[in-house]
């Protein structure tokens, strides 16, 4: 395996492309130059920091540090889920539901892959565990936030229909079933779309990364397939738990619809 190593000086010329964007923004008065500058600086700092953090973690191979890094990743993922909701749950569940579901789904499939097929030594080796977890989080997060968003929005919109079913003696499961189905469908949609388009329209970043690093394309494809299967499983599990959990939180033991547990403020 050979790959072309880059030094920081190799990045100066490509970085000029961003400067070109900035000049465009100035010339065309798009007023994006400030945002662009902040975003670029953020990206550079975040990525360089992550590079050093990963270097440290890979050298340490400590279960404790790896777990801490994983926890921080899950927290950022749950913050992102909340940010994507128009209507949010009140109280601890605002973050709790998203965090719990991403942790459960991404954690389960990551550990599953580490223990059964990849088997690094030790199994929690951060070189395998953290990139894998990161990819799982990014994708399960999408499913979970979409599923929850559709659930809360449709319950608010279809309140009369849900309550009609409840008033006629339907259980909360019967009354929420159509909404839950819609929410699950929406949550599963992105991963199915990307599975259908992969290879034709898009070359996934991980696979291209491996190819650039000198891995044979066919081997890189095997890795990518593993990742896609894991993502599909993780998204399914995470979306299911999040939507069913959300449906349970938005009803109560007397089979009432509890939209008062949703807050709408930004």
């Amino acid at each position: 395996m050979t790959y072309i190593q880059l030094s920081y000086s190799n990045l100066v010329l490509p970085a000029l492309l961003v400067v070109m964007d900035g000049v465009l923004s100035l010339v065309l008065r798009l007023k994006l130059e400030k945002q662009l500058a902040i975003a670029t600086v953020r990206m550079v700092i975040q990525l360089v920091l992550v590079g050093y953090v990963l270097t440290f973690l890979f050298a340490a191979v400590s279960p404790l540090w790896t777990a801490l890094a994983a926890l921080i990743m899950v927290l950022f993922a749950s913050r992102e889920i909340v940010a994507r909701q128009k209507r949010r749950l009140r109280g601890v569940w605002k973050y709790g539901l998203g965090a719990g579901c991403t942790l459960l789904a991404a954690g389960t499939v990551t550990i599953f892959a580490l223990l059964t097929e990849l088997r690094p030594d030790p199994w929690y080796h951060p070189r395998y565990a953290l990139p894998l977890l990161g990819m799982m989080l990014g994708n399960t997060m999408t499913g979970i936030s979409l599923g929850l968003d559709v659930l809360t929005n449709s319950l608010v919109r279809e309140r009369a229909a849900v309550e009609a079913c409840l008033a006629l003696g339907g259980t909360r499961h019967q009354a929420l079933l159509p909404t839950v189905r819609d929410a699950l469908r929406s949550g599963f949609m992105p991963i199915m779309n990307s599975m259908a388009a992969i290879g034709l329209v898009s070359l996934p970043g991980m696979m291209t990364g491996q190819i650039l690093a000198g891995v044979e394309p066919v081997d890189a494809v095997k890795y990518q397939l593993l990742i896609m299967f894991l993502i599909a499983g993780g998204t399914g599990l995470g979306t299911l738990v999040a939507v069913l959990g959300g449906a349970r939180l938005l009803t109560d033991h007397r089979h009432r619809l509890r939209l008062d547990r949703i807050s709408t403020e930004g």
Binding site: E158, R159, A160, A161, V162, E163, A164, C165, L166, A167, L168, G169, G170, T171, A175, P178, D252, H253, R254, H255, R256, L257, R258
Partner: protein, 198 residues
């Protein structure tokens, strides 16, 4: 017999009794809490107080079982499927009531979208009547109906009442309240009710 004592929800604080085969009219200005009261009796909103049917506390049975006995019908009933007949466990059994309320007998496969407000209101009533509940909590059940359809609804409910069903009938129409109610419960702005005879 339905017993409501010390029912509290927001500003509401209500007690009353409803005999079998009795229909009481519930009156009061808009926004005073008539809908809130009916929904609370059906346990659709969190509320405090004791509500009993024939001495049995509603908490003693699962909420769906309570609502099949004590059924709330919204002024604008909701629909969860696309087509009329999907909302009925046995559409054929509902047909006699459907036609009695002046709806065509081929409206089963109609899309909910094409129904008028009045048609929805009547079909919602039929759907609720199919449960043969002990108590009906009717929230302005004729608000979207012309006088002929409203009369048909009044006659139909009167039959159920004479067969032992109890009804709380919320209405803005004073004449209707006197026609249908053996008693009139008037809601006050402070959340209480006053009883009068028509």
């Amino acid at each position: 017999m339905l017993t409501v004592s010390g029912l509290k929800r927001l500003h509401l604080s209500v007690s009353f009794e409803l005999q079998d085969g009795e229909c009481v009219a519930l009156q009061g200005p808009s926004g005073v809490g008539k809908t809130l009261l009916l929904r609370s009796i059906a346990d659709l909103d969190p509320n405090e107080g004791t509500v009993k049917l024939d001495g049995t506390l509603r908490e003693a049975m699962p909420a769906p079982a309570w609502r099949r006995r004590v059924t709330y019908l919204a002024a604008e009933p909701g629909w969860w499927a696309d087509v009329v007949q999907e909302h009925f466990a046995a559409w054929d059994d509902a047909l006699p009531l459907v036609t009695r309320l002046g709806l065509p007998d081929d409206c089963g496969p109609w899309s909910i979208q094409r129904l008028s407000t009045g048609e929805r209101q009547r079909l919602g009533l039929v759907r609720a009547l199919m449960l043969r509940s002990r108590v009906l909590l009717l929230d302005e059940p004729t608000s979207a109906l012309d006088s002929a359809s409203a009369a048909a609804v009044e006659t139909l409910i009167a039959e159920r009442v004479s067969n032992g069903t109890s009804v709380v009938w919320s209405t803005h129409d004073k004449a209707q309240a006197r026609r249908v109610g053996s008693r009139i419960l008037a809601m006050r702005h402070d959340g209480g009710i006053e009883e009068s005879r028509p």
